[in-house]
Amino acid sequence: MDILPGTDSSDALPRRIGARDGLLSKVSVMGQVTTLLAMASTGIVAGALAHDAQMKDLLAAQARQLSAPTGAVPPASPLVPKPVRTLVIGAPPTTAPGRATASKAVSRSGTTRRTAPRTTTARRYAAPARTVVATAPVPARTRAPQPAPKAAAQPPKAAAQPPATTSSGS
């Protein structure tokens, strides 16, 4: 098992930890492995491996990154273990309770856009309290086929949308 990329496995676990680095004192081999992995998980490379020039560079880079201003995102360390994703087979999709789905309309350019929910249309005209303005949807001919008309007892459907009229300065 490679602890570090490009490192020979025989060098991965030195028997002696460099006391001059001041990061680790003498510990058992197993302790070294545990400590190495623990410190790797926090982004800090074990001092026992600092004798490697490549690792020295990595140590320096890690130190700079950890002291960076708020908002800087250090690059992922090769030693940081990646989270394991658990795949649940057969779990039904869930949606947040109480979330209403907004109506969507396709604009003339073909991209899907959200439209304001339609206001309830009174069958008899009354002065509206508020006017809702929405982006125009795609004309009927580009929509999915509509369901068959309902029984005659149903109220008549609204007229199809006419072509746009123009509001221009005058």
């Binding site: 009174a122 002065a127 006017t131 509001s167 221009s168």
Partner: protein, 306 residues
């Protein structure tokens, strides 16, 4: 010109009161009667309120001894204009007839020459509209005041017509030169409206839909002419008596009535750079096209491609 669709809606187009007229109904069975109402109403409106006809009530008003009794139609149009002046604190002023004439807009727009002598600058008398009294059909005008109801009469008439046609039992959209009023049940998906800064090939701004209320667009590029080489347009600043600085190519507002939408859009042109804040405070959806080409959308006006 009439268009009838199998889906039920029907439409007619005509010219009247110096502009284009577009009528749409959701029930084609009512088209003929609705179209007759439009023709009759607009003929009466022109005879009552036109500044360009010597035989109109408005033209004879200034020379008449006060108070004078006018038709219910003129009294209604004048009352609507005064209501708008009050609501906009004078930004939309119905007493600018003389200033418009001095600026060169002294006949129907289609008859205006492309250029002429430099416009006369008249002394400005602000807020003369506050001295106008309307009591039923009895009107008292201050001496020397010339009325111009062009800013409000079309929108007021569109609202009136839409209400009368909806009473026939159909959904309706009435478009008088870009001032749009709707009434009754809308078609599936609402009434689609294309916004441009001037009719017949202007810069397209956006296409939107409304399901109720009114929508109006005011523009500094639709009605322009030259005087002494300077470009003039028809929306005057009541403070200076001159065309308002063309900060915006056009302003479009949607409101519960066409009259209100028109008042807000016209006042916004006069306000110039101050318009967005003023419109935000009033809460109605609005879209402003700047001279630079930038588009400002306010109060929930939908995003979308131009």
């Amino acid at each position: 010109m009439t268009a009838v669709a199998e889906q039920g809606w029907a439409a007619t187009r005509r010219r009247a009161i110096g502009t284009f007229v577009h009528l749409l109904v959701t029930d084609s069975r009512h088209l003929a009667e609705a179209d007759a109402l439009v023709a009759e109403d607009l003929d009466a409106l022109d005879l009552a309120c036109s500044r360009f006809r010597a035989d109109s009530e408005l033209s004879r008003l200034a020379a008449a001894p006060m108070p004078v009794t006018v038709s219910p139609l003129l009294a209604g149009a004048l009352t609507a204009a005064l209501d708008v002046a009050a609501a906009t604190d004078g930004l939309v002023d119905p007493t600018l007839g003389a200033a418009l004439r001095a600026a060169g807009y002294d006949r129907t727009f289609s008859s205006l020459p492309e250029d002429g002598p430099t416009a006369i600058r008249l002394p400005v008398c602000r807020d003369r509209w506050r001295d106008i009294a309307v009591d039923g059909c009895s009107v008292t005008l201050p001496a020397g005041v010339e009325l111009d109801l062009g800013a409000t009469a079309k929108a007021w008439a569109a609202d009136r017509l839409a209400g009368r046609i909806a009473a026939l039992g159909t959904g309706v959209l009435v478009n008088l030169g870009g001032d749009i009023a709707t009434a009754g049940p809308p078609p599936e998906g609402g009434w689609p409206i294309e916004i441009t800064d001037r009719p017949g090939g202007g810069v397209p701004v956006q296409t939107v839909t409304i399901e109720s209320g009114g929508l109006a667009t005011s523009s500094t590029t639709a009605r322009t002419w030259r005087r002494g080489g300077s470009v003039m347009h028809h929306i005057l600043d009541p403070v200076t008596g001159r065309p308002a600085p063309p900060e915006w190519n056009c302003v479009t507002v949607a409101a519960p009535t066409c009259l209100e939408a028109n008042a807000l859009s016209t006042a916004s042109v006069v306000l110039g750079a101050a318009a967005p804040a003023w419109l935000v405070a009033r809460g109605h959806p609005a879209c402003l096209l700047a001279r630079s080409g930038a588009v400002v959308r306010l109060n929930g006006w939908p995003e979308g491609p131009l």
